[in-house]
């Protein structure tokens, strides 16, 4: 009886701890030597995978939104057509310089940046059957971090440790630019 009880408790505990928890699947290294942690929710094995640079420090950081940050702050981040085009142009140029084909896929990019719009860290949500390689990811990350400054009204975010936002990056659009 005691053994059955322990077994049941273990089952429940396993269920509770595994539910929705981030599970590291593997670590991938690009040809440039940049390593990425690939994770997924244990409860959603067919869902997207998260690629995070192993040097990232903010992946699980719970930033607090200070009380005096205006509700209009987010709307000051320029994500208009012109800015998207500028971003896509930079990525296309990088792929062309490396003579790499641009894959046809859409990745969701999570940006973490300073109040001045300088990108601190990125991570990428990629479909589990995606053809995007770790080298593609590394190239996109390098380009965005080095060449892309996001336009925003820094005054609106006063007191924030960092600013984050998420946006899809359609690589088919980059290719056809």
């Amino acid at each position: 009886m005691k053994k059955i009880l322990i077994f049941i408790i273990c089952m429940f505990a396993q269920h509770a701890f595994c539910q929705g928890k981030l599970k590291k699947l593997e670590e991938k290294v690009s040809s440039d030597g940049v390593s990425y942690k690939v994770s997924q929710l244990s409860s959603n094995p067919s869902g997207r995978k998260m690629y995070s640079n192993t040097s990232n420090k903010l992946d699980n950081d719970l930033a607090v939104i200070p009380e005096d940050v205006s509700r209009n702050a987010f709307s000051t981040i320029d994500m208009g057509k012109d800015e998207s085009k500028r971003r896509d142009g930079l990525i296309k140029k990088s792929f062309e310089l490396k003579s790499r084909p641009i894959p046809d896929d859409t990745v969701i990019v999570n940006y973490k940046m300073t109040r001045q719009g300088k990108i601190l860290e990125l991570n990428f949500l990629i479909k589990s059957n995606s053809k995007i390689s770790v080298d593609d990811i590394a190239l996109i990350e390098k380009t965005l971090k080095n060449d892309y400054i996001i336009k925003l009204d820094s005054k609106q975010f006063k007191g924030m440790k960092y600013i984050w936002y998420s946006a899809p990056l359609a690589l088919s659009g980059v290719k056809n630019l």
Binding site: K21, Q40, R48, D61, L62, A63, I65, N123, A167
Partner: protein, 523 residues
């Protein structure tokens, strides 16, 4: 008409020139200026130094130069700022017949009488006559009694009127400063809308009922207008009856001095300051003689033709969706247009937002919208107050798509949850706020909009992916999200210290599922 056309043509030519390069215009102008300076010098000294032939030549050149200079000055004057020629804030209302400078002068003259008034410290006029009129926000409306100009205002020291459910509204946000033409001069009125609490509470779906207390610019009582279910039913005057009367009525209005409590949505603690007893003979309303009191507040529809007509309103090229949601408002036409435009955008953007609108209108979930620049804490830039069923905006800059959506979602929550969301003002308030944040995150993920996810962690991003089945379907029941919902609710509470109240472990996001379920969205 010809003059307007001429001015418009000049403006168009000017703007084109300016587009090419304003600096060239200035250069041309300075060139001619130097030129006719020489010409003047030449005329002054002509007798001594110039021959007659040369003088004629110089005179000709002088007149031509002058003509060109006058034309250019005219052009520059027209170009200086096209809106300089129109009244501030009235630029987008065609055919307005008010000259703002004349109105201001007449008002200044009328207010010189304030010094003669014997106002004691116990009279509300001590505060109400110290009003700050926002002339740059003035706008005109067409009423059955002619054109009126509305000038938003606040008081130097705001006072508050006790309203429905012990909610206090600022005098500035409850009153309208109305300008009417009177021959070559102007009349000024302050119309204060005092809601009939009992009637409003008895039937929340009914149109506005209450009294419009009309005073002159010095705060003297002029008349009272009774409104029931959006229609004028009586008029009251202090002058004796000269026709059929309905009786003699008195109405006590109390004024308070209040402080704000952030994020709750009402003003407290409030201290009693003044009371004014308005007594008048009540007469039946003369149909069509509303003097525009119904037109002033766009949310009130009138059966006697005084309602908020949008037929000739240049702000409403879009479907007027807002009037189905609003019972009373003190917004300017530009603000109404902006919120209406946000609804139009929302309609285009998401099946879920269309369902939100249908959910509101099908429940006849009307509310009051108030523009109140007196909202002091930054947290209260815009909010929905379920207790008073009012939406507040501190300024037009907060009437953005995101904020309009969020506040109307809160209104929907109030209509959806049995007993309303007042019960969650403290316990469960975090749930109410997190629900709308999650609603936004789900929509953004599925539609591929840029978003500032509510929680900036990897796990949360993947959770949104999971509950939307890879961004393809809207969740419709609590089951699939239940395992992590309260975990993220707790994290939301931690990371959003501006959200007051506590979390409730029994309140699940039913309003969100109701919208997704009733929508045409993939699910």
């Amino acid at each position: 008409m010809l003059l307007i056309q001429l001015r418009l043509s000049i403006s168009v030519i000017c703007l084109t020139i300016l587009k090419i390069g304003r600096k060239y215009v200035l250069r041309i102008n300075s060139f001619f200026f130097v030129k006719y300076q020489f010409a003047i010098i030449a005329i002054i000294f002509r007798k001594k130094y110039l021959s007659v032939k040369h003088e004629l030549f110089m005179r000709q050149r002088f007149y031509i130069s002058m003509l060109v200079a006058v034309l250019l000055l005219g052009l520059l004057y027209a170009c200086k700022n096209p809106s300089d020629h129109l009244l501030n804030g009235l630029t987008n209302v065609p055919g307005n017949g008010f000259d703002l400078n004349n109105v201001k002068n007449d008002y200044a003259k009328a207010m010189t009488m304030v010094s003669v008034l014997k106002v004691t410290g116990k009279d509300k006029r001590d505060k109400t006559n110290k009003r700050k009129l926002r002339w740059n926000e003035a706008y005109t409306i067409e009423t059955p009694n002619g054109q009126k100009m509305i000038v938003p205002f606040s008081l130097e020291e705001e006072i508050f009127i006790l309203g429905r459910n012990r909610i206090y509204d600022s005098y500035g946000a409850s009153s309208f400063f109305i300008v009417s033409k009177n021959g070559t001069g102007h009349d000024f009125e302050i119309a204060t809308y005092v809601e009939d609490e009992e009637k409003s509470m008895a039937d929340p779906s009914a149109k506005w009922s209450g009294q419009v207390i009309v005073e002159d610019e010095l705060g003297n009582f002029v008349k009272a207008v009774g409104i029931e279910n959006g229609a004028i039913v009586s008029e009251g005057s202090i002058q004796g009856p000269n026709g059929r009367t309905l009786g003699y009525d008195c109405r006590l209005v109390e004024y308070f001095s209040c402080a704000y409590i952030p994020d709750i949505g009402y003003y407290a603690p409030c201290q009693y300051m003044y009371s004014t007893l308005f007594c008048y003979y009540v007469m039946p309303a003369s149909i069509g003689n509303s003097n525009g009191y119904l037109t002033v507040v766009g949310g009130i529809q009138s059966s006697s033709g005084g309602g908020a007509s949008t037929d000739n309103n240049p702000y409403y090229p879009l479907p007027d969706r807002l009037s189905n949601l609003v019972r009373f408002n003190n917004l300017t036409a530009s603000m109404l247009a902006q919120i209406n435009a946000q609804w139009d955008l929302m309609f285009e953007k998401s099946c879920a937002l269309r369902a939100l609108y249908v959910g509101l209108t099908s429940r006849n979930a009307k509310l009051d919208i108030r523009y109140d620049p007196n909202l002091s804490p930054s947290l209260a830039d815009a909010f929905y107050d379920p207790v008073g069923n009012k939406m507040y905006f501190k300024s037009q800059s907060f009437m953005t798509e995101d904020i309009v959506m969020e506040e109307f979602f809160h209104k929907f929550q109030n209509a959806y949850y049995s007993g309303g969301t007042t019960q969650y003002t403290t316990n469960g308030h975090v749930n109410i706020e997190f629900e709308v944040a999650l609603f936004q995150d789900i929509m953004a993920y599925i539609h591929g909009w840029p978003d500032m996810p509510t929680i900036p962690t990897d796990e949360y991003s993947l959770w949104i992916d999971e509950i939307t089945q890879g961004g393809t379907k809207f969740p419709t029941t609590f089951g699939p999200i239940s395992a992590e919902y309260f975990n993220y609710l707790g994290l939301y509470d931690t990371t959003h210290p501006n959200v007051a109240g506590t979390t409730s472990q029994s309140l699940t996001p039913g309003a969100m599922f109701e919208i997704f379920n009733s929508s045409s969205c993939p699910k």
